[in-house]
Symmetry: C2
Subunit: 344 residues, 2 copies
DNA sequence: TTGAAAGCGCTAACAC
DNA sequence: GTGTTAGCGCTTTCAA
């Protein structure tokens, strides 16, 4: 089933069929109808390889994830569903427009990123690329894609620059979480920061601090630093709970550290949320299964990826991409780890 | 960077370069070396679209999953990691051989499966296809792929036929779980079956029954039927626990039903594993986070997918595929939901 | 062992 | 509006 079969069947040249497929101008409605009928009748579908060869789209969008981090998540099986959510948002949105998402792993840290990426691009010749953290902020990758001149989006990136940045509003999310706890009556609300390698860590801290100030609440010794790992969550929580005036609520910058905080609380005999409220970031599946289930900021990975795909396809159709980040609001999911502080 | 650039650089015809790329015979080692040097120097990577057009491989393997089921899992965010494990096993194995896995969702139940699948195959022209449940046992799909003559594997399928079947040994896994409980001293070991739509459900029941008989233990009223849903797990467990002589251990055919069983036990004030031991099937991430974490049969999804990819690539290289299913053993992961029964 | 020629299915450029 | 021609980057003949 090639374009020529269709052409023969409809009694036109293959070029006219091509015009119909691509919805190009200069085809009489009557002819277009006839060609479309032949296409449907014969069940013809253009080969994307051939389309690509003819010099047009490949209808492929490449989604790049960090190899080590992704494989580690897969092996650990801790229920992190970043990839699933990314596929959910990205594949479905791509499919809406006749594109396909193709998923690849690339080393961020290696010095051969550039070579590896060039090879993938040469082999696949995608029409666009989606970068996820930490690639989204990797200057080598950004520079390379910009030079090549391919459309790309950076998920979770907070600065403008080449490629569209799409991200959630980290500051606002942290502020909302803080406000929620304050409105429950908490005065001493601590915050465990994430790895300084990610710029979003700073934003989350900033959101918390801003809201605390707005509420006229002290922040002095209530910021503990973590790095997104369980271990760092443990030490940060220990540090906070041994303060002379310990917090009655803790916001952790990700679920893993929140899990650690919960474990520490349990170990010290503190009831959650009775003695200590816990607020988490990310809302990965695991927080539904802890005792108690955790209240969390929902990181809208599916939405962000869908948005990224949408932006790329938009630009492929000739629209300019915004050079400022596109920011969406995160939601809060209230579960049972937050409550008013004990009147003590 | 095309094959001609390399040819020019190495001072040979592009045809010779093609031979080197494809590791074809009739190239003097000396020439081969020279060409390879040019390839490396220029960072040349063949375009898969062009390779495909030339009439050879596309180096693409299509992995097909059920659309509704997959999207539902993604939306529910219960931590099911089937897709992740599949990518872990499949992508990495494919990459080892220079192939890429491309992931698609297809409706199983719709009457237009055939059209949908034909369109995908026509567009992508993959070299092979991997079918997962319930596609692996869908006669329309199997027939279609067989007619087209494409290499394909059926993951989780238990019968031979066109395409290689790769599956875990369901019977043996169920028997092992049963044996484990029996060896702890349990006499009344109940089993909650899965949906009869899946042939593996029967196999799991058969394994349990066989082992029970081997141990000379009664099975009479100890088989409860479920359908893999939480709700069915609840009613099955209720039924079992209200028996005059209730079981001291329950094996559930999947994690979701095991979760339900745990919830029922809690509600009825039964301690797990003190009063009731629980054994689950699948070992999705969630069973690590329950109280207590569940002992489970590990469904080796990554391994199965890797095996499927391997079989397909093998067949692409001219090897015959086995016409009998390739079966691998499942592992048991012991956690804290199983123990010796109380001496009551 | 190597190279030259033809063609894969499509699109872009141009002619009609 | 529609058809014709050339060519995308590769592989598969087949001739040398």
């Amino acid at each position: 089933m090639t374009i020529r079969h269709v052409a023969a069947d409809a009694g036109v040249s293959h070029q006219t069929v091509s015009r119909v497929i691509n919805d190009a101008p200069n085809v009489r409605p009557e002819v277009k109808r006839r060609v479309q009928a032949s296409i449907d009748k014969l069940g013809y579908v253009p080969s994307i390889a051939a389309q690509r060869m003819g010099g047009s789209r490949s209808y492929l969008i490449l989604a790049l994830n960090d190899r080590d981090r992704t494989i580690a998540d897969w092996r650990e099986r801790q229920g992190t569903d970043w990839i699933d959510q990314m596929l959910l948002g990205g594949m479905l949105k791509a499919a809406e427009h006749g594109y396909r998402l193709i998923f690849e792993l690339v080393d961020t840290h290696a010095d051969h990123v550039e070579r590896e990426l060039r090879a993938t691009l040469a082999a696949l010749q995608p029409d666009g690329v989606i970068l996820t953290p930490p690639h989204s902020e990797n200057p080598h990758i950004i520079k390379l894609l910009d030079e090549i001149g391919i459309a790309f989006a950076r998920v979770g990136a907070l600065q403008g620059g080449p490629g569209v940045a799409v991200a959630m509003d980290e500051e606002s999310a942290a502020a909302s979480a803080t406000r929620h706890l304050a409105s429950l009556g908490h005065k001493r609300i601590a915050f465990i920061s994430g790895s300084p390698e990610y710029s979003l860590s700073k934003r989350r801290v900033a959101g918390w601090r801003a809201e605390m100030e707005r509420e006229k609440l002290p922040t002095d010794d209530l910021l503990a630093s973590g790095d997104f790992s369980f271990g760092s969550g443990t030490s940060a929580t220990e540090a906070l709970l041994t303060l002379k005036d310990p917090p009655t609520a803790i916001i952790a910058s990700n679920d893993r550290m929140a899990l650690a905080a919960l474990a520490v609380a349990n170990r010290r005999g503190l009831a959650v949320p009775g003695d200590l409220s816990l607020f988490s970031f990310d809302n990965t599946p695991v927080v539904r299964f802890t005792q108690p289930p955790l209240t969390a900021v929902d990181q809208p990975v599916a939405e962000l990826t869908a948005l990224a795909v949408d932006m790329i396809i938009r630009s492929l159709r000739g629209n300019e991409l915004p050079d400022q980040p596109v920011i969406i609001e995160a939601g809060l999911v209230e579960r049972s780890s937050t409550a008013a502080p004990c009147a003590s």
